[in-house]
Amino acid sequence: MDYILILISAVFVNNIVLAQFLGICPFFGVSNKVSTSIGMSGAVLFVMTIATMATYLLHQYVLMPAGLEYLRTITFILVIAALVQMVEIILKKVSPPLYQALGVFLPLITTNCAVLGVAILALGLEDVSLLKAVFYAIANSIGFGLALIIFASIREQMELAEVPKGMKGVPINLIIAGLLSMAFLGFTGLV
């Protein structure tokens, strides 16, 4: 039951992009085509899950016993950056087709604040365990993917629409995101 609540809360109610404002850069950056947004979502799912697992273990078994919690920010970002590099190298060797699909997005992910954000937020969950933290990461990356793919589909349609001159480009995209976020607000109270 706990896990279902985490899933619904992360995907709909507290959507990581539309309600918590994490991962906004890729949300606007790679959302002009549905196909690229699917690739990005896959890469985020992959990296976020592994990163949360690694940072959770690091926090639980190294930082906490040593009383070094204040080094959290520095160590987490280093682990994530190293991990992204490693995933890139391993994928290239082990699974070229997967690398083809996700490769270009991987370097972008280091500075995706959703990954670091989820890694830190996962530590604050109620009686957190490794399984719960990882599940939380998976649920949040699904939420990220859902928001990104819906947004990209709307943007593809918007190319045909006539937008007032002053609102072209960034402003109209922000308005779309605002309306989408308003739609997701409808899920409030579900959990």
């Binding site: 920010t73 605002g178 976020s181 607000l185």
Partner: protein, 199 residues
């Protein structure tokens, strides 16, 4: 004479023509996430500007010692160190703001504005120019966040910097302090801002 003009341009560039938020769209996560009031926006802006200034100073000093292949991780460590300092100082001295900004304080590390300036400017220029660049960009960021926070606070809760100017129980546009309002307020501000340089 020529160098002073350049310095002035470097400084002013960050505030209007290349405003990090309204024009370059850097550092969007904290911009949207914490600006529920003018004070929060100001606090976040100052914290980020401080990290930006310090990291620009350090990067411009060590740029020749860092091999170019590992420069990005090296920059990230420099930035993360200053973020940790900010985190500890805020927690100790301004716990109210620390709680309000929450997760977005450690996330200053991944603010693309800071890494972007380190990579694009401080790693190529001398100390003084890097400081000027950081001050300009930092001020641009502070102005943008404070403005967005103030607009959302005025519309959403009918107050400015905590001082209310509507009667109690008056109905305000609550939507502006909820997440959708962040996107919509920023959309209109950046549309207005796009008009300024073209005049």
């Amino acid at each position: 004479m020529e160098s002073t003009v350049n310095k002035k341009e470097t400084f002013l560039r960050g505030i209007v023509a290349e405003n990090p938020v309204f024009v370059m769209l850097l550092g969007m996560c904290p911009t949207l996430g914490v600006t529920t009031s003018g004070f929060n926006g100001l606090g976040m802006g100052v914290a980020t500007a401080f990290v930006l200034l310090m990291s620009n100073i350090v990067v411009s000093q060590v740029k020749t010692q860092i091999p170019s292949k590992v420069r990005i991780p090296a920059f990230i460590i420099i930035i993360a160190s200053f973020v940790t300092i900010v985190e500890m100082v805020l927690e100790a001295y301004i716990p109210f703001l620390y709680e309000q900004l929450g997760i977005f304080i450690p996330l200053i590390v991944v603010n693309c504005l800071i890494l972007g300036r380190a990579e694009a400017f401080a790693s190529k220029n001398n100390l003084l120019d890097s400081i000027i660049d950081a001050l300009g960009m930092g001020l641009g960021f502070i102005i943008a966040l404070t403005l967005l926070g103030a607009v959302r606070e005025i519309l959403g809760s009918g107050s400015l910097f905590g001082m209310s100017f509507v009667p109690e129980n008056a109905s305000t546009f609550i939507i502006f302090i909820l997440p959708p309002g962040a996107f919509i307020a920023l959309a209109f501000l950046s549309a207005i801002f796009n008009k300024i340089p073209t005049k």
